[in-house]
């Protein structure tokens, strides 16, 4: 199929970018979205032009590296799908596709579609871990945890940190990402010990990184490739309020 692409090109973080038009022919419906971009880049290499840079790694939907705005929506039109798992059968011959990087003040563009998500790492560094020395791997069944709790915690842990929630939020809020990390650890016995300290430092870091506030529009849950529930944001708020009240 033949496609008309409008792609964001930007040389570096300080330069001013613009949308550039491309035409691409020979795209098959079995190609993934990223393979379609690979095909375009090959043609650019043959023309000795600078290739379009984009983030990607595993290309099987689990690493959270890839992610662009496709026709104005994070990771494109499908539900619970990363950009790499979006296939060209979702488009038809002659379509025009707008491709832009995830945009937020806390996610500066590095080049073209590639963004810097260090702000997410800084939030994790601020408290998204269990600080107690755990020694060697213990016998798994020595700490009783109910099946439901494990599943709920794992649902939150499924967050791959791609940033689609921030990209789609009208406030560029990282509440779903931070909520998922808080919920994941706060539900488990090992994580409960530092739950108060964790939520306070992580929320503070979220603010410092320049993310906006959560307006509970719930758009993030709709666009999240892992289907993380917005209730994890409420759980974060619960943990935060509890920590504020109980703080010594």
């Amino acid at each position: 199929m033949k496609l008309y692409l409008k792609i964001w090109r930007q040389l570096n973080a300080t330069s001013k970018g613009e949308m550039v038009d491309y035409e691409i022919d020979g795209v098959t419906e079995h190609m993934s979205f990223l393979e379609m971009l690979d095909l375009l880049n090959e043609s650019l290499i043959q023309l000795k032009e600078r290739v379009i840079e984009f983030d990607h790694d595993c290309r099987e939907g689990i690493c959270g590296q890839c992610g662009v705005m496709i026709n104005g929506r994070a990771h494109g039109p499908l539900k619970q799908t990363t950009t790499c798992q979006l296939h060209m059968r979702s488009f038809k011959d002659g379509d025009t596709i707008y491709i832009e990087p995830f945009r937020a003040t806390a996610f500066p563009v590095v080049r073209d579609l590639k963004i810097n998500r260090t702000s997410f790492d800084s939030i994790i560094t601020a408290g998204g871990y269990i600080g107690a020395s755990t020694g060697q791997a213990p016998e798994a069944n020595s700490i009783p945890i109910s099946y439901e709790t494990v599943e709920a915690s794992f649902d939150a842990a499924a967050c791959i940190g791609c940033g689609a929630c921030v990209a789609t939020c009208k406030n560029s809020s990282a509440a779903l990402f931070v909520g998922a990390k808080i919920t994941h650890l706060a539900l488990l016995p090992q994580g409960k010990i530092e739950a108060s300290k964790r939520v306070l430092t992580m929320v503070d870091q979220m603010d410092k990184e320049g993310f906006g506030a959560c307006s509970n529009t719930e758009a993030c849950e709709v666009e999240c490739p892992q289907g993380i529930s917005v209730l994890s944001i409420a759980k974060m708020n619960y943990e935060y309020n509890k920590a504020l009240i109980m703080k010594k």
Partner: protein, 218 residues
């Protein structure tokens, strides 16, 4: 502790819920306007007098003024921060698909409500407190007459009805959003609050919308 956006949201949620509670009381008081005219006049004027003379009500009203001001003020503070966080616009933007329009436009709805409140305070609150009104048979200030005069003008009724529609959409999102900000995360109660929020919104909005219409059509 630094002042975080989450703390600001707690203030917006808390004051918002207090305003929700106030709306219930306000509507209950206003139901007296549905009584037959003579009875409504006496009763409503007596009720207005009761409210203005009571120390307990005076304290509540100061909490009310404070809530209104801080609700708006902190909403502005949070909005400024949100705008800084999301300065970069998309050239092609279809994100609206993923959320309800009223949840994205609480600021605009709130501004309509603020403008409404200026009119509302000027025409009733200010007139009752700071001007000389005629006295009714029982010797109370005749606020009922002011109400009837105001709502006999079509344009005035239209302004009120538009404002109440804005109020409805504001409440519909605001009520449940506040519950989330305060940390209600259990799926069962989240669902219950959403249903309760719908019921609350319909009753409050419907009730307030009915009053100007009833008086205009009478």
């Amino acid at each position: 502790m630094k002042s975080t956006t989450l703390k600001n949201k707690i203030i917006i949620a808390g004051t918002g819920l207090f305003l929700c509670f106030f709306l219930v009381i306000h509507l209950l008081g206003n139901l007296q306007l549905f009584l037959p005219e003579d009875q409504a006049r006496e009763q409503f004027n007596w009720y207005s007098k009761l409210l203005s003379g009571n120390v307990f009500i005076k304290i509540i009203s100061w909490v009310l003024y404070l809530s209104l001001i801080s609700h708006a003020l902190y909403a502005i503070i949070v909005t400024i921060k949100n705008n800084t966080a999301s300065k970069q616009n998309y050239h092609y933007d279809k994100r609206n698909f993923a959320s309800a329009w009223n949840s994205r436009n609480m600021g605009i709805l709130g501004t309509i409500l603020l403008l409404f409140l200026i009119i509302h305070f000027k025409d009733f609150w200010y007139v009752y407190k700071f001007t000389n009104l005629p006295i009714d048979a029982a010797g109370n200030k005749d606020l009922y007459e002011v109400v009837v005069q105001s709502y006999s003008q079509l344009w005035y009724v239209i302004i009120y009805e538009i404002s109440f529609v804005a109020l409805g959409f504001h409440l519909l999102h605001g009520f449940f959003s506040a519950s989330r900000t305060l940390g209600l995360y259990h799926p069962k109660y989240v669902k219950a609050i959403k249903i309760f929020g719908w019921g609350y919104t319909l009753i409050i909005t419907g009730g307030f919308m009915a009053i100007p219409l009833y008086i205009y059509l009478k």
